[in-house]
Each structure stands twice: as structure tokens, then as C-alpha cells.
């Protein structure tokens, strides 16, 4: 009798512990998932899951494609400014090409948005395409040396001095945002013209054999400036940049009041870029 009671108490005790422990353990495991599934990492959606309040910044951008269409040449101006201040070389061929931001056709930036009958104007729109600064960046997951990493402010950045040039991040990026220095960017072509047309001495050039991409102008943000492309597009209001975690920021306001889409949302990367088409 006694032994039976002992056993019963043992089992009851263990079940109670399991009953209390299991859900909390599960919760711990699922916490990351719950956060991730809270929409595109937007603070409001995360709050609904009862997670801790979001602290810190997360930079993001809204790209108003119509404004670019209304201002022909604006997208090219953004690209030119970015590439010139960041010393992005121009090799004059597609194979070696390095680009941080570029104007792309809708069907290429949004290949998953295919449909039988499409608005004729859609494919004429210049879609500004750049690194998405994902909240769950596959490139950061793939990098074997932490040469690419995510800052606390959400910016996915590169350490050009640590990169070994394995290009795993380029295979991992689902947005084709990364470029590799196939040859010396500081060099000259056969005619003696430098690949970097006008050198900006305030920003480092890269060396051969490393990967590079848009850095959301982290060097400008550090001194209180907005990203260069946003500055160029600000008069037209085509690009809105700011802290997605600040409900009063201009970018949050824009996201609340407009219908936006993101690139390949099904991949769970939670981009920080939003498009108004």
C-alpha cells in the first residue's frame, strides 16, 4: 500500500513539474518564432504576441515608386550619388559589376508577383532596388567569419577587412543585393581610366576579393545625416527613411497610411524596405 502511494506521489509530482515546466519551456523555444511571425517585424504586431516592448532603433525605408515615375531621372540620380560617395567602381561590364543600389524593372524586383494581365505601366516603373537590411538576414547566417553582421539599429553591415571572399553570402541573399570585387577596384582599365571615377577621400575604397553592398549610409547616420539616396529623393518625397520602432517617425506614419509590399515576404527575412507601387 505504502509503496503504491509512494509511486503515485512520485508520478503526480513529476507530472506537476512537467505540467508547469513544459509550457514555459515551449514558450522559451517558441519565443523567437513568435517574434518572427509578428508580421514584418513591425513593433505593433510584435506587441500582440505579448513580447517585451521593442527597444532601440530599427532603420527602415519606404520607397514610393510612383514618385520616381513622376520624376524621370530621379532614380538614376539616387544611384549616381550613392555610387560616387561610396567609391563604387564602374568596370563597364555586367560580369564584374558592383552596385549598391539600382533601378530595376518590376518583374525582376518582384518576380513572385506574376500575373496573366498586368498593368502596362508597371514594367516601365523604375523600381529602386537595394539591400533590404533584413531583420533575419540569410547572408549574416551564412557568413563564416562574421564579416557581415547586423547592427543593433537593424543595419546589415560589412567588415571589408575580415571578409575572406567565399561569396557564401551572395548565394544566401535572395535579393541579389551583394556584389563581389572580382578585380582590383582601385585599378585602371586598359586606357588608364580609373574604375572609381572620382575618389571620395572620406569613405574607404575596397580591395580585390571582398564582398560589398549598400550599408544604409551608416557612416552618414553616425554624423546625423540621412542616407544619400534619401537626401536626393527628399524633395520629391520618393524615399522616406527612419526608425520603424518609433511610432511617431515619418516612416512609421507612412507605413500606417499606405499599402506597401515587400520583396519575397514568404522567405521570412523580414526586410526593412517597403514599396508603394
Amino acid at each position: 500500500m505504502d509503496s503504491k502511494r509512494r509511486n503515485f506521489l512520485k508520478i503526480a509530482g513529476l507530472s506537476a513539474i512537467a505540467g508547469i515546466g513544459a509550457p514555459s519551456a515551449f514558450n522559451m523555444l517558441l519565443k523567437g518564432e513568435a517574434l518572427a511571425s509578428g508580421g514584418h517585424g513591425a513593433p505593433a504586431a510584435q506587441g500582440e504576441h505579448g513580447a517585451a516592448a521593442v527597444t532601440g532603433k530599427r532603420y527602415g525605408m519606404v520607397i514610393d515608386v510612383k514618385k520616381f515615375a513622376d520624376n524621370p531621372g530621379l532614380a538614376e540620380q539616387c544611384v549616381k550619388t550613392c555610387h560616387s560617395i561610396h567609391n563604387v567602381p564602374d568596370f563597364g561590364n555586367r560580369k564584374d559589376e558592383i552596385k549598391w543600389v539600382w533601378a530595376e524593372k518590376f518583374q525582376h524586383t518582384f518576380p513572385e508577383h506574376s500575373q496573366y494581365k498586368k498593368n502596362d505601366g508597371l514594367n516601365e516603373l523604375p523600381i529602386l532596388t537595394l539591400c533590404n537590411h533584413c531583420d533575419k538576414p540569410p547572408c549574416v547566417r551564412a557568413c563564416p567569419t562574421k564579416a557581415t553582421f547586423k547592427n543593433k539599429d537593424g543595419i546589415v553591415a560589412m567588415d571589408y577587412h575580415r571578409c575572406i571572399g567565399c561569396r557564401f553570402c551572395m548565394a544566401a541573399c535572395p535579393y541579389g543585393a551583394r556584389s563581389f570585387n572580382w578585380r582590383d577596384p582601385r585599378g585602371k582599365d586598359e586606357n588608364g581610366n580609373p574604375f572609381i571615377k572620382e575618389l571620395n577621400p572620406t569613405f574607404p575604397t575596397r580591395m580585390r576579393g571582398v564582398v560589398e553592398k549598400c550599408n544604409f549610409c551608416v557612416e552618414r547616420l553616425a554624423i546625423g545625416q540621412i542616407p544619400a539616396c534619401v537626401e536626393v529623393a527628399s524633395s520629391a518625397g520618393a524615399l522616406v527613411f527612419g526608425d520603424l520602432n518609433d511610432p511617431n517617425s515619418e516612416v512609421s506614419e507612412k507605413l500606417r497610411s499606405s499599402f506597401t509590399i515587400q520583396r519575397k515576404p514568404a522567405l521570412g527575412t523580414h526586410p526593412s524596405l517597403f514599396y508603394i507601387i
Binding site: R94, K95, D96, E97, I98, E104, Q107, H108, T109, P111, S114, T129, P138, V140, R141, A142, C143, P144, T145, K146, A147, R162, C163, I164, G165, C166, R167, F168, M170, A171, A172, C173, P174, Y175, G176, S179, F180, N181, W182, R183, D184, M207, R208, G209, V210, V211, K264, L267, G268, T269
Partner: protein, 389 residues
């Protein structure tokens, strides 16, 4: 024991000189690449991995293939593999050495390769690949060398080797699984994003590795009078044949999932590899002849393989194994890696053609692998001949 490699007939030295010549040419090619950058290869912003990484991927399989000999011999005490198991272990050494050379050849900043160890990053599959590949290399050096050295001395290998032999078995699985994880964990690359990638890698590895071994064993029978025995060959035929069948079955599963689901992303690369993929007004199809040849050679190879066992014909067996090996080399050493980049994430179609320098370096790495293999096998033949007489 190593002095055995310094004595050989004319053919032996001619073969080594031939390999050294290729290595020399490749070395000069690498010097060019080192000075110019990887732009000297055919790789581009859109196809960022080329021959180097595809050869690496294939050779990891050849290395893992050694498992098919170690497992029966040491775990199931299958005595007929007595002469051939050591060949499998040494082939793994040569194959992993080639893998490491291909990775170094592919790095944009090879002088920084140690950063992978200086800044260990467990979330990167490349970090784990570095660990399992180097681990497998050392395991095979320890096991292969100790076992052969013991035979050279006429004693049984020391007891402490046994745990390493057993460890090398799951380790062989791990090298190819982790290599598959390099690819199948990447979002947005539909062709690679499949759970059967690791199983398919293993199946093709267990066919390609032993097939190469069989060809070498048959060559050694001719030139070095070193026979691995009919029973071992018959058993290997079973292993190669079924592994190749499983590989093609899994390829069929991929084809079914792609075309029956009708999801464009799952069909694009298969279209590109087997039929050609249209983009704009141009159809891109430079891998189609290779991939179709791969399927044909695979099918003929498997049929010939089983027929050769019935006929007990070494010539037929050699042809079958060569066909299967080339078939799997195209399948994994070309199509899998190169195809995965087509179309690009922005759905452009960009084709890749290796440059002459790239081919030179690739040939040199293969030559280096065969150089290592030749020396090691020379030791095996010399030691076995003494110990068995």
C-alpha cells in the same frame, strides 16, 4: 614506409612526372589568378560559384564514398574487403585534400582563410564544413596510416586506432550532409532548397566514390598486378549499383515535385538543366547536352554494371564504372552547383563558362589529388606484397 614510394618502374615515374607537369601549369595559372583576382575566372556577379566549388562538392562525395568499404570491413567484419578497404581510406585522404585546395582556390582573400578559425561562427554551415572536412582528413590519415604501418611491421594495428575507425563512419556521413546543408539551407535558391539534397548527395557519393575506386583497382590489377579479389568486386557492384539507383530515384522525385506542383521556381532550374530556359528572346541551354548525357550514361552504366557481374568481365565492369562516375560528376560536379544560380534571384538568366585559367587550376588540383593517391597506393601495393608473401 614512405621509402617504398621512391622505388618504381618507368611507368610509375612517367605518370608522376605527367601529374607534376599539370600541377606546374596549374600553379602558374593560380599565380595569375592570385595577382589579378577571381575576375580571371568565368564567375560573375550572378553566377558567383563556378567549377571550384562544384568540384569541391563532388569530391566531398568521393571522400565520403570510402565509408562503403570501411563499414562492411570493420563493423561487419567482411573479410573480402581486406585489400580494398585501405584503398578507400587513402582515396578519402586524396579527395579531402582536393576539396581543401578547391576551397582555397575559390577564396577572394585566400590569405585570410584562417579567419574561419579566428572568428568561429557556428551559425555558418561553412564553419562546420571546415571542421568536418579537416576532421575527416585527420581521421583517415590516422586510421589508414596506422593500419598500413602495422601491416608493414607485420603486427596488428594498435588498439587505440579502433575508436577512430568507428568514429570515421558517422563522420563520413557528416561531411556530405554538412556540404549539402551549405546549399539546402539558403532561402530563395529553389533548386537547392530541398530536404532530399543531403540524402541525394550521400546516394551519389556512395556510387561515385566506389566507382572511381573500382576503376583504379582494375587499373592496378593491370599495371601493378594487385588484385582486390572477385568477391570484393562483386560486392562493390551491388553497392555502386544500388546507390546509383537511389540517386536517380531521388532525382526523379525532384522532377516530380517540380513539374507536378507546377511552381515556377521549382521548375526553372530543371528547365534550364534539361531543356533550356528562355529569357527575353533567347533560350539558355549550355548545360543541356551535359545533363542529358549524364542521364543516358547513368542508365547505361547501371545496366552494364549488373551485366558485367553476370559475365564476370573486367572490361565491361570498368566501362560501367567510368560511365557511372562521369554521369554523377556531371550531375553534381556541374549541374547541381551551376544550375542553382539559374535563374538569378531577380530572375535573369546568366550563363557561366569557365575560363582557361580556371580550367588550368581545376586540372592542377585534380592532378595533385591523383599525385597523392598514386604515392599512397604505391605504398599499399608494396606493403601488401611483402606482408602477404
Amino acid at each position: 614506409m614512405i621509402e617504398k614510394a621512391l622505388k618504381g618502374n618507368k611507368g610509375y615515374w612517367a605518370w608522376l612526372m605527367f601529374l607534376l607537369a599539370i600541377m606546374g601549369v596549374g600553379g602558374m595559372c593560380y599565380a595569375q589568378q592570385f595577382n589579378y583576382g577571381l575576375g580571371i575566372t568565368g564567375m560573375s556577379r550572378d553566377v558567383t560559384w563556378g567549377l571550384y566549388i562544384s568540384q569541391f562538392t563532388f569530391l566531398v562525395g568521393v571522400a565520403a564514398g570510402g565509408l562503403m568499404l570501411v563499414l562492411p570491413y570493420y563493423v561487419h567484419n567482411y573479410k573480402a574487403f581486406g585489400r580494398i578497404t585501405i584503398l578507400g581510406e587513402f582515396m578519402a585522404i586524396a579527395a579531402v585534400a582536393m576539396c581543401l585546395m578547391f576551397i582555397i582556390a575559390d577564396l577572394g582573400q585566400p590569405m585570410r582563410a584562417m579567419n574561419v578559425m579566428l572568428h568561429p561562427t557556428p551559425n555558418s554551415m561553412l564553419f562546420w564544413d571546415m571542421i568536418v572536412l579537416n576532421g575527416y582528413l585527420f581521421l583517415n590519415i590516422i586510421c589508414g596510416w596506422q593500419v598500413l604501418h602495422a601491416e608493414y611491421k607485420g603486427i596488428k594495428y594498435p588498439k587505440w586506432v579502433k575508436p577512430f575507425i568507428y568514429l570515421s563512419i558517422p563522420w563520413a556521413i557528416s561531411i556530405h550532409t554538412v556540404t549539402a546543408f551549405l546549399y539546402c539551407g539558403l532561402p530563395g535558391r529553389h533548386f537547392w532548397l530541398t530536404a532530399v539534397l543531403a540524402p541525394r548527395f550521400l546516394a551519389s557519393a556512395f556510387a561515385a566514390g566506389p566507382a572511381l575506386l573500382m576503376v583504379i583497382a582494375l587499373i592496378m590489377k593491370k599495371v601493378a598486378n594487385f588484385d582486390v579479389g572477385q568477391e570484393a568486386k562483386d560486392k562493390l557492384v551491388t553497392i555502386i549499383g544500388y546507390a546509383a539507383l537511389v540517386n536517380f530515384f531521388l532525382l526523379g522525385c525532384e522532377v516530380f515535385v517540380g513539374y507536378y506542383s507546377n511552381i515556377p521556381g521549382h521548375m526553372h532550374t530543371l528547365d534550364y538543366l534539361f531543356f533550356g530556359l528562355g529569357h527575353g528572346d533567347h533560350v539558355f541551354n549550355n548545360l543541356v547536352p551535359f545533363m542529358r548525357a549524364s542521364v543516358v550514361m547513368g542508365v547505361i552504366g547501371i545496366i552494364t554494371l549488373f551485366l558485367s557481374r553476370v559475365k564476370k568481365c573486367d572490361g565491361m565492369l570498368a566501362i560501367a564504372c567510368i560511365l557511372i562516375f562521369i554521369s554523377l560528376w556531371i550531375d553534381k560536379g556541374l549541374g547541381l552547383v551551376l544550375g542553382g544560380f539559374v535563374p538569378t534571384p531577380l530572375e535573369y538568366v546568366v550563363e557561366y563558362v569557365p575560363s582557361a585559367v580556371e580550367l588550368g587550376i581545376t586540372a592542377a588540383v585534380w592532378a595533385t589529388g591523383f599525385f597523392i593517391l598514386t604515392i599512397l597506393y604505391k605504398l599499399v601495393v608494396s606493403v601488401k606484397r611483402v606482408s602477404e608473401s
